[in-house]
Symmetry: C2
Subunit: 567 residues, 2 copies
């Protein structure tokens, strides 16, 4: 592609709304442009990288036996009512009415449509197993779209759905897709970890997230250095802490603490550490409100709370009390109390008094209050021990780029997607579903692959393999050579981005580093002086001056080596 005829608008300045490096670089290098919050246009370079990723994903997903279809984005309410999600799915499900006043939504995921399809078209066990997939636009009305392609509202997703005869076969499909995901992220060249995860709004009983390791990741990952298991920190089992009780319990006392609202403010007012203070959170569930109590230095995990209490819906309902988190407490109130193990070690601690401006001090467990349930309720954090083997947990940050779910009959039962087995009995199909965020994978790749000058695309996702830079368009000898190398490389099947613009060498080198193609092929004064052109790897792993006729061979050697490294 010739830069003079494409639309590759590079920028010198970071966009104002960009917080993370991938967002900054993808905008500055001319891959994407914002149309509205969380809504982007893919420019030519961005779309080419999307295309590379989609081809790679298709290859591995089809190797796993999946067949591609395409389901609509606009979906009728009735479908979502039949699964029960029209009410259950939160505000991320964008609902609207058409001109005939019928209700529709923009699909954030496609379990309903695909289950209805299989319900109508699959009758016999002989048609199973079946794995259907698509790569298509989705919409999630995120409350805070941000980070460019990382948390967009309109985005591309690869979603696959498996339908099986039995639980055992469905677990086999789950494993097949899990392996395909490992191959995909390995072939891209990413450092990633597959971790056990919550099933969220999709549901089901087992799930793994594929997390690309990056300090800017929104997710926390916990890994046990001993048993080698890994989890999203919100699910990682934390061993019960061993407590040393240094003091005798004193009699509890109500003290004035004024405006102190957060745990940190209460700690300052009373001259204590947060871990001596109880954090109490009111959680609304489908069975009514619960009071979740954790130690002030820890963070409640809603997924762990749901599992411990046995509910499917849980959200913070602090506003029901009219009090900030630091002022609510478990003493003398009516809601059932569910406490984290760490609370059991509290002696002479502090709890909100459930009235503005006051706290109880010298609160001890279980002397002053008792929990209905005592459980592992908090996000794993550095220093915690593994709940499986007591080994040390290490924490890191990740970007969730894919997730696989074992759904069982969560959708097939209510939607009556049944088949006739070999004995003529009706049975619901057993399902799994599997997603990869296409745009988010690209952003995650940039988070891992960049330097101060710009992006360092792995060959797998580079929009082009080679950046052909003609340094002076006015010198016809150089221009002719560049033109002929451009044609020759393309004829050899190499993707080339040709900088044929009338720009200064500094601008061209700057843009080439920013865009970050794996190889740069420069035609400049070395050719006039010595008959040589320069091949340089973007990661500076090598620079070589070669005669133009050898350029193709050298480039092929580099690319196939890189390909093999991740193949």
């Amino acid at each position: 592609m010739k830069m003079s005829r494409a639309l590759i608008p590079t920028l010198r300045e970071d966009p104002k709304d960009a917080e993370v490096i991938s967002h900054k670089l993808l905008v500055r290098a001319g891959f994407i442009r914002k149309v509205a919050a969380g809504i982007y246009t893919m420019l030519p370079l961005g779309l080419r990288t999307l295309g590379k990723l989609m081809a790679l994903v298709r290859e591995e997903i089809e190797r796993a036996g999946a067949v591609e279809i395409q389901m609509p984005l606009v979906q009728p309410k009735e479908l979502w009512t039949s699964s029960g999600r029209w009410e259950f799915y939160g505000k991320e499900l964008l609902r609207f009415k058409d001109r005939k006043d019928q209700e529709f939504c923009l699909a954030p995921t496609h379990e309903e449509v695909v289950t209805e399809l299989v319900k109508n078209e699959v009758r016999s066990y002989r048609q199973l197993p079946l794995i259907l997939y698509q790569i298509h636009t989705k919409f999630r009305d995120e409350i805070r779209p941000r980070f460019g392609l990382m948390r967009a509202r309109e985005f591309l997703m690869k979603d696959a759905y498996s339908f099986d005869l039995s639980e055992a076969c469905a677990r086999q499909s789950y494993q097949t897709m899990y392996s395909a995901y490992e191959r995909i992220f390995r072939r891209i060249g990413l450092k990633f970890e597959a971790v056990e995860a919550d099933t969220g709004a999709i549901g089901g009983s087992l799930s793994h997230e594929f997390q690309v390791l990056a300090p800017t990741g929104e997710d926390k990952i916990a890994r046990c250095n001993h048993c080698k298991k890994a989890w999203n920190a919100e699910l990682a089992p934390v061993a019960k802490p061993a407590f040393v009780m240094p003091e005798s319990p004193l009699r509890k006392e109500k003290v004035k603490t004024g405006d102190a609202a957060t745990i940190e403010e209460v700690a300052v007012v009373l001259g204590l550490h947060p871990e001596q203070i109880l954090k109490s959170l009111l959680i609304q569930t489908e069975r009514g409100p619960y009071l979740a109590v954790v130690r002030g230095d820890r963070i409640l995990s809603l997924p762990k709370f749901k599992r411990s209490v046995g509910v499917v819906e849980a959200e913070l309902a602090q506003d029901l009390t009219g009090l900030p988190e630091g002022q609510i407490g478990p003493i003398g109130q009516a809601w059932p109390v569910v406490a984290d193990y760490s609370v059991a070690g509290i002696q002479n601690g502090v709890a909100g008094a459930n009235e503005p401006g006051y706290h109880w001090v010298n609160v001890s467990y279980p002397l002053d209050f008792e929990a209905q349930t005592l459980a592992d309720l908090t996000l794993a954090q550095e220093g915690d021990c593994c709940g499986v083997c007591e080994g040390p947990l290490s924490l890191s940050r990740g970007i969730e780029v894919g997730q696989v779910f074992y759904l069982g009959t969560k959708y097939s039962k209510p939607m009556e997607a049944v088949f006739l087995d070999a004995d003529g009995n009706k049975k619901p199909t057993v399902m799994g579903c599997y997603g990869i965020g296409i745009g988010r994978t690209i952003a995650a790749t940039v988070e891992q692959c960049h330097d101060d000058q710009g992006i360092l695309w792995p060959v797998s996702l580079a929009p082009f393999a080679v950046h052909l830079v003609l340094l002076d368009t006015r010198q016809s000898e150089l221009a002719l050579l560049a033109d002929s190398l451009y044609s020759a490389l393309m004829a050899q099947g190499v993707d080339v981005l040709y900088d044929d613009r009338e720009e200064r060498p500094g601008v061209k080198f700057h843009d080439a580093d920013l865009i970050g193609l794996p190889l740069r092929l420069t035609i400049g004064k070395k050719y006039k002086e010595k008959g040589l052109v320069e091949i340089k790897a973007r990661d500076a792993s090598f620079t070589e001056d070669v005669p133009p006729e050898d350029a193709g061979k050298r480039i092929h050697a580099f690319l196939s080596q890189q390909g093999m490294a991740n193949g």
Copy 2:
């Protein structure tokens, strides 16, 4: 692809809601399934045909110099306000609010987004010309979605937008895209006609539609057998008719006609032909209402009306009068009258009396009323003469699969998409836009290419080239041969659909004819008897029994011959 592992649900019965053959066959052959009115899932076969068409379109559009991008479907109101279309675009523009109560729409077309993009990123004449295109989902909230993929609400479209320095350059881009469109439809193998057309909601001053000829087409096409020009009938210039005035004008008289509401009913009540009755239609425009009057046997063309009156908005506003069309008339009312040339020949005719139950008889033009404008206002019909050369017009029906528009500065001016020319002056870019309905092209192909048994795919769009039919899966000798032919053909780059299902031969042949791949390769008893397999063209142009080792060669020969025929 093995049929046993794909989802290819063929049906024996036509779907109840299907009126046209392409809709019936695409559903019955397992290409598409309805999710809601005008909203479909593309099944594996349908998606493969989509993929073939998209690849062909991409090749020709990129050969014409266009660069691919991808713009969002969900677009903010502000963009559409800036072009003036938020108000102007009718109910086909589906508008809704997001969770933050901000207004958005589902894009039916992308002029706003692309113009805003070019406004922000193109500064200098050196960046022009630029042609951007995408193949992406669109949504139009059709009042009456029907005919399957032909008039869907959610659909795939290839849309391209050209940006030029000057009118002359823009007309060049228009011509380039026009030629690319001709190549695309020729390569598919369609019988089509490019006709001059109205610019509708897109706007601009020149437009051509690419119409696939089919009796089920919703559009009428007029072609002059003499000057060879062709138009959408709603725009085809009709020569002024020559009138013979046989009688002397009589004095007009009001008569009672009772409930007669339509022209046909009035004709029956008065014992006259529709051509002796005036049809009066109230049209609302941005300059207020007009009364359009045409002869009772003719159909008003709104595009012609708009051009004659010089307005951009025009819609029927019959309800303003409270009277049916047969009862409105031009005599004694206040709206400006615009009449078709045919009205000038009315002598002793009939007109509505603008009161229920009455008509004027013996109405003559211009004795009893006069038109502000007398013009060519009706759809061309069989028997009309060409308004350019007076030659005879022939009428046929077409399916509009593509349209090209010369937009000029309709969008770039209000949205201020300007560039600096070589002298440093700011100028608006001069635009064109170019659409191809991807799904509709597929439906149109089926309308042209089918027989009583099913579809006859041209090689260009066939989901697979060869249907490999194993007649008896229980005979391992045959099954082994089929398996090895399947692998061998795929290794040679031939797309094969392999019917490996445990079904009776009758079912397999029936499905193969229904699905309609260009070639069928049958493995059956001829192999056991004589060592031969059968190659048969779907269009029955040949059948040949060959040894299995020759099958690949014969198939390649057939496909390359077909390819060349349309290449």
